[in-house]
């Protein structure tokens, strides 16, 4: 299953809903303000790391760049993808849910 999240961790309600429903083996695609969750050393990144140890986490490169977050600032075990990679994830996952 592919979860798409465009809210930052400080918009707590959608993130709380996501973290309560996500399952082992799922993939999380972070876009727009959702990319703030992977900034190394942030409270959001620590929360994500604690909650999602069995999860594949991907983050959208242009949305990182738009927010001035460099590749070096992205937490470990996160894959940076372009829009083509986002499309591939949508192809690879038959069930897709946008957390809005």
């Amino acid at each position: 299953m592919l979860h798409i999240m465009n809210h930052a961790a400080f918009d707590s309600a959608p993130v709380d809903r996501l973290l309560s429903r996500i399952g082992e083996g799922h993939t999380l695609m972070l876009i727009e303000n959702g990319v703030y969750m992977v900034k190394r050393g942030s409270v959001a990144a620590e929360r994500l790391e604690r909650s999602l140890s069995d999860l594949t986490v991907c983050v959208l490169a242009p949305d990182l760049a738009a927010r001035g977050i460099t590749a070096a600032e992205v937490m470990a075990r996160v894959t940076v993808v372009d829009f083509g990679g986002f499309v591939d994830l949508a192809v690879d996952n038959a069930v897709i849910h946008s957390w809005i």
């Binding site: 727009e32 993808v81 083509g84 499309v87 994830l89 192809v91 897709i96 946008s98």
Partner: protein, 139 residues
């Protein structure tokens, strides 16, 4: 992961729930659609719902040095023959009328931009059935 991976060809349906000046969702959806087309996938339909109908206003006039999401969608529809469908209830609530409806309620202009059509929620249901994947972009 990069974009060199070659997945099977699929049909995508896209739902957009917010306007171009409300959130990044229109931009994200637009870039996703372009990337899917570049990879040889089909985009079966883009359905504009709730404030997403703001993407279809013909007379939206941003400054010349600023992108126009309305024009981008119109061009994409023209180049790739993509079905851009605006939810009729959401549109009429917000004053976006096709020419027939405008005439019916005594107004004169067609507000709908080129490449868009107004139809019902059934078109979203049909897209969800016909497409392999449905992605929702929202504020």
């Amino acid at each position: 992961m990069d974009s060199t991976h070659t997945p099977p060809t699929m049909k995508f349906a896209i739902q957009i729930n917010s306007g171009p000046y409300q959130s990044e969702s229109s931009e994200s959806a637009y870039q996703f659609v372009r990337a899917a087309l570049r990879k040889g996938h089909e985009v079966y339909r883009v359905f504009f719902y709730y404030d997403g109908i703001d993407n279809a206003f013909r007379y939206a006039s941003p400054p010349d040095d600023e992108k126009s999401m309305v024009q981008r969608w119109s061009q994409l529809a023209r180049r790739h023959d993509i079905d851009l469908v605006v939810c009729i209830s959401a549109a009429q609530r917000r004053g976006l009328l096709c020419i027939e409806e405008a005439r019916r309620v005594g107004k004169v202009d067609p507000d709908l931009a080129d490449g868009f059509r107004i139809s019902g929620l059934g078109q979203l249901v049909e897209a969800a059935i016909e497409a392999d994947r449905l992605l929702v972009f929202s504020a």
